[in-house]
Amino acid sequence: MEARPVIEVEDLRKRYRLGVVGGATLSDDLSRFWARLRGLPDPLVPIGTEVDDQRVGEEFWALRGINFHVRQGETVGIIGRNGAGKSTLLKLLSRVTTPTGGVIRVKGRMASLLEVGTGFNPELTGRENIYLNGAILGMRRAEIDHKLEEIIAFSGIRHHIDTPTKRYSSGMKVRLGFAVAAHLEPEILVVDEVLAVGDAEFQKKCLGKMKDVAGSGRTILFVSHNMTAVQSLCQRAIWLHAGQVRMDGPADEVVRAYLGAHATDRADVSWEGQADAPGDEVVQLLYAAVHPAEGGHIIDRRTPFFVEVGFRTKEIPDGDLNIGIHVYNEQDVLAFASSWREADRTEGAIAAGDHVLRCEVPAPLLNEGMYRVTINVFRTARMRFQVEEALGFEVHPGEREGAWFGRKKGVFRPLLKWQLDPRDA
């Protein structure tokens, strides 16, 4: 017999009103109210407001009818790109805000680790804040008394436990916050990206704690960009896309599909012979590609690689042409931008014909992960055209360091020179 569902989400919808509430004044509201009373349309919505599939007037549907059940003891990963609705779903689950439509049913105590350490008062000591934070999360005093020792031990900051938290580093706050929340022993634990903070040692501890929780028959919802962690922690994953469930199934399958859809297989793209090839009256792109500098297909952290752009051009007598790339990681952070003319200022005519422009990205530089490349073409100091997300590639982890299976933080993972000297040398 299957375990009973502990979370039921049915046709969950959430609408945000863009700009309506924020700038309201009393007189705006009065006129709106008056219009509604008389059955007239809202006088304040601009005429001819653009309507596309997600924006209707001034509304934005963050969730557009989500359905899923989670059974007791399941560990479910929730994945999706920024803006797919993950954080809205979390906010609804943790009752910070209310849905526009649909219903969520929950059985058992649910605790969310939405931004651990929320509610620390900087003037109070670590110990006092444990009590305050625990109480905010719904713990009773006796419960906290009982677990205080364990919480302090887990946080690893016993030395500073009686220091006001305003003197803590952000890392220490996170440790303490996670320690409190992890010891809450909820039946359902909602974890959001805690792994993005703290050092590897502490992350390991957190994941270990989460596995304990999962092992003891409790339920975990794990929201993360860290696919490795999702695959290793969760049996099941739900992929949200544009406010809807795109896929729901075994974690490995869903993660593979998700990664596939996000640009791994676009290491090269060709526009040759296409009528709609990106370009203007002078320059036309023929192809673009990312490939390891020394051949092969796999790029790992230690592989230098080329970003290559093939283009056809008319003669440009003054050589006024620039092509640049923007490289984004999977969190939509611009990892770096670079352009040809930054490095090569030689002026001289560019002959008509086909050319290949190659940018070498050294290694080790980028951290492991998925990246997307946008290509920009400039002439006469203006951007002429742009190919958004023209390419996608993955930087594989390569050899692992230590037992840590997760991902190190940061956009970059360069190997830097370190040196130890005696002080008064």
């Binding site: 039921e8 509430v21 910070v96 805000t97 049913r105 929950v106 939405l114 109480a135 905010i136 719904g138």
Partner: protein, 288 residues
């Protein structure tokens, strides 16, 4: 098979839906969070005085200075204080009561705007916050009340006739009315400030103005020849409470009709406050 369908109502602990009731006061939930309330009160009190020299003495300094200023200007110079009671005691009793009400209003009116960070991240019954603020203001009131009693004893030792009457028993009722009035007004304002920030500025000013429509500065009996003004004063639910506070300490007849009006006003305002507060608490995270 499905002997007990899980969708049976009692099978779920929490059901989250868009259309909540327009009025809600979940006492059971509040009771569960009582430790949070206590901790918030402690946090309020300790955080307030860390890194101050005088600490809780500030509770005494402020009303004392005001009292002496009022006694000097309104009592001595303008001659507004009534005969029979030392004007220091007259003003102190009014100021202490008014401070409590004003303190509760101004502090609880910042419930949402002052806790944005916390409230947009974690769920807990929001009402715990203004309730804890009321309680921590009550602590300050206690200290001020003690100061008043000390001053009374000084006057009694110096020969002021005084005998505690049965009216003293009405004091808890007065505190309750003031707390409800302050809390109700405060949460009403706090609910509205999430949308109209201007109200935040108005509160301090408004509360100050309201004091001049209360018998803090002179007794209501002074207005006998000004019926219109008297009406205005009587509309202020704090008026009978302050008059009654003085009766409690200095004797006289308790204004029962006025107190009944104040109680009614406190209940109506609190109810109204709850309705608006509840509405805002559901949508608050989307507005900020």
């Amino acid at each position: 098979m499905h002997a007990a369908r899980p969708s049976d109502l009692e099978e779920w602990d929490v059901i989250i839906r868009p259309d909540g009731p327009w009025w809600r006061l979940d006492l059971k939930e509040l009771w569960h969070y009582r430790d949070l309330l206590v901790l918030l009160v402690k946090r309020d009190i300790t955080a307030q005085y860390k890194q101050t020299l005088l600490g809780p003495l500030w509770h005494v300094v402020q009303p004392l200075t005001t009292t002496f200023t009022f006694a000097l200007i309104f009592g001595k110079a303008a001659g507004l204080a009534p005969p029979g009671i030392p004007s220091v005691l007259f003003y102190m009793s009014g100021i202490v009561a008014w401070n409590f009400f004003a303190g509760v209003v101004t502090r609880t009116s910042k419930t949402f705007t002052g806790n944005t960070q916390l409230m947009s991240k974690v769920y807990f019954p929001r009402l715990v916050v203004p309730m804890s603020m009321t309680a921590s203001t009550l602590v300050g009131y206690g200290i001020q009340l003690a100061t008043l009693i000390v001053f009374m004893l000084i006057y009694v030792l110096r020969g002021m006739p005084w005998q505690p009457g049965p009216e003293l028993a009405a004091l808890p009722l007065l505190v309750l009315i003031m707390a409800l009035l302050g809390l109700g007004t405060g949460i009403l304002v706090s609910a509205m400030t999430t949308k109209y920030r201007d109200l935040g500025f108005l509160v301090g000013f408004g509360v100050q103005l309201l004091m001049y429509a209360s018998p803090v500065i002179f007794p209501l009996s002074r207005l006998q020849n000004y019926p219109v003004l008297l009406r205005v004063f009587e509309l202020n639910p704090m008026t009978p409470v302050i008059e009654a506070t003085r009766v409690v300490f200095f004797g006289g007849a308790l204004p029962w009709a006025g107190l009944a009006y104040a109680t009614g006003a406190a209940l109506v305002i609190s109810l109204l406050g709850l309705v608006f507060f509840h509405r805002v608490e559901r949508s608050f995270a989307d507005i900020v």
